[in-house]
């Protein structure tokens, strides 16, 4: 018996949350074959499951291995849905993010989690990787016409690079065009204010939600 759209949406979200990659992909197949709306399956099913995983991480129920596996299940199922998602004609909702770990720092686990959560929130993400020279942030922001720049560092010794990047954005006339957020262990709201960033969040799930809010507010 064919399952209803709602049932499948709930099951997809659950499969992501439970780290069941094969199950999530199989459900996505079933969902597409039944002719249900792919976009809705993504936003209401898969993304909600991933959001919930992010919450469990905030609550210290999940740790990095669990989040990585949820994200594998998420991306696997997204790949199934993607060809069936109708391209939006107005690109009003299209949001582009450029993210990276600043120069001198190679801690990238947190940045990788941020990438996943930003994609869950609907961003197209250009990931510059780790140990990224300042100029690369500037070039990428320009080239991709970014709405959002997210910088990450876990080391006090490299925090200074964040302020350097913001200064360079100003020098290049790009600062007003993008929302800038900073994060990672030694970063704080106070530090974000001090260097003229638009926001800080202590974890990736709330960071991605805030990024979305800030970008939408910045547009209107």
């Amino acid at each position: 018996m064919a399952r209803s759209k709602e049932e499948l949406i709930a099951a997809m979200g659950n499969a992501v949350l439970e780290m069941e990659d094969e199950e999530a992909a199989a459900l996505a197949e079933e969902y597409v074959e039944a002719g249900y709306d792919a976009m809705e399956g993504l936003t209401e099913g898969l993304a909600k499951g991933m959001n919930r995983a992010g919450e469990l991480y905030e609550e210290k129920e999940y740790f990095i291995p669990e989040l990585l596996l949820c994200s594998d299940a998420f991306y696997g199922a997204v790949d199934v849905l993607r060809p069936h998602i109708q391209k939006k004609t107005d690109s009003g909702e299209q949001m582009t993010a450029v993210i990276g770990v600043v120069e001198g720092d190679t801690h990238d686990i947190g940045k990788n989690i941020l990438k996943i959560m930003l994609e869950t929130e609907g961003f197209d993400v250009y990931d510059l990787g780790k140990d990224v020279p300042t100029q690369n942030f500037i070039d990428a922001a320009r080239e991709h016409n970014a709405d959002f720049i997210g910088m990450s560092t876990l080391m006090t010794t490299t925090m200074i690079k964040m302020s350097e990047i913001i200064q360079e954005l100003k020098n290049n006339g790009l600062r007003d065009r993008v929302v800038v957020m900073v994060g990672g262990g030694p970063i704080s709201e106070a530090y974000a204010d001090k260097i003229g960033a638009d926001g800080y969040e202590p974890d990736a799930a709330s960071a991605a939600r805030r990024a979305r809010e800030l970008v939408l507010a910045h547009r209107s």
């Binding site: 594998d72 001198g104 190679t106 686990i109 006090t156 030694p186």
Partner: protein, 370 residues
Amino acid sequence: MSRKTKDEMTPKQRAAAIANGEEVDRMPCNPNVANGVARVYGCKISEFNTSAKTLAEAQIAGYRRFGYDSVRVFTDLFPWAEAMGAEVTMPEDDTVDLKTPAIKDPADYKKIHPLNPYKDGRLPVHLDAMKYLIDGVGDEVGISAAIVGPFTNACFLLGVENVLRFCYKNPEAVHHLCQVSLESLIAYADAAIDIGLGPTISEPMSSCTVISPKIFREFSAPYLKQLVDHFKSRDRGVVMHICGQTADIWEDIADMGVAGFSIDNVASIEECKKKIGNKTKILGNVNPGTTMYMGTPAEVRMATLQCIKEGYDSPKGFMPMSGCSLPVETPFENIDMMMDTVRELGYPVDPEKLDRMMKETEAELEKEKA
């Protein structure tokens, strides 16, 4: 404030006297200067990759400059993974970093071989440096050889995120890599013990900031325990360090029978003391970044005193230390201040004097702010 530049006792005399319950000049202290010794000695950090003599002489220069209580052969977290086939980047004047893990295709994990400490990678350089150190300062200060834990090394063999995924998807592979890492680390540590050093273990990937206590117990703890047991069988106590939050695994670690546990600044000495202070010595945890690297000397003094206040009465002992290796460019005056603070306080700790020093320092900090 007067700055004593010389201690009355050597670290070895001090440790022996404390063990006998005698009064000494000051409590032992380890600011945990890592590759920063290159700044004292005046060489490039990359020279440590090839010259045992430079590595040893720089360590000696750091020890003589600051007078801290432990010297350690530690350049970075990757020499063992490198010796097993990982590629590293070697910046001219900065710390070595992992470039590519030893195993390119995860399916090939069984192809990994244990290392030979006398032949592979930079390990022979490290072992030779140990000999120079024993000859140079071995009779006055304890010298230790750093290793990483088996789980952390496994992460560098296969890539951090691959290993974290495999904890669920291919547990057998993780166990295999931990086992081969265990054998390798024992081979290296045995070579160091033969030269006369004691081991220390850093196990950053076991942090509760990264993996759950459940994963820790399944994949990391069994191998750490074997490592600790091996050292005990060779009559060596071992100090372990795990970065990040560790409160939920303190008891596991103490029950392994480690001689000491060194905690990160995000963990609390007070709580750690309550939980495992009766089982093992606690070391820590001045913030290496915000305080030691970026702070003023008065802030360093305050933080050092604060740690001592929380930890000094811990049943199995306490040593003030930084929460992790210091950044290379940490100002000398801050490292001096950490040492001078314990010099001024003396040992055994007089709680009233400690409070007085804290009050003075607080006043100084107020002035600084104004």
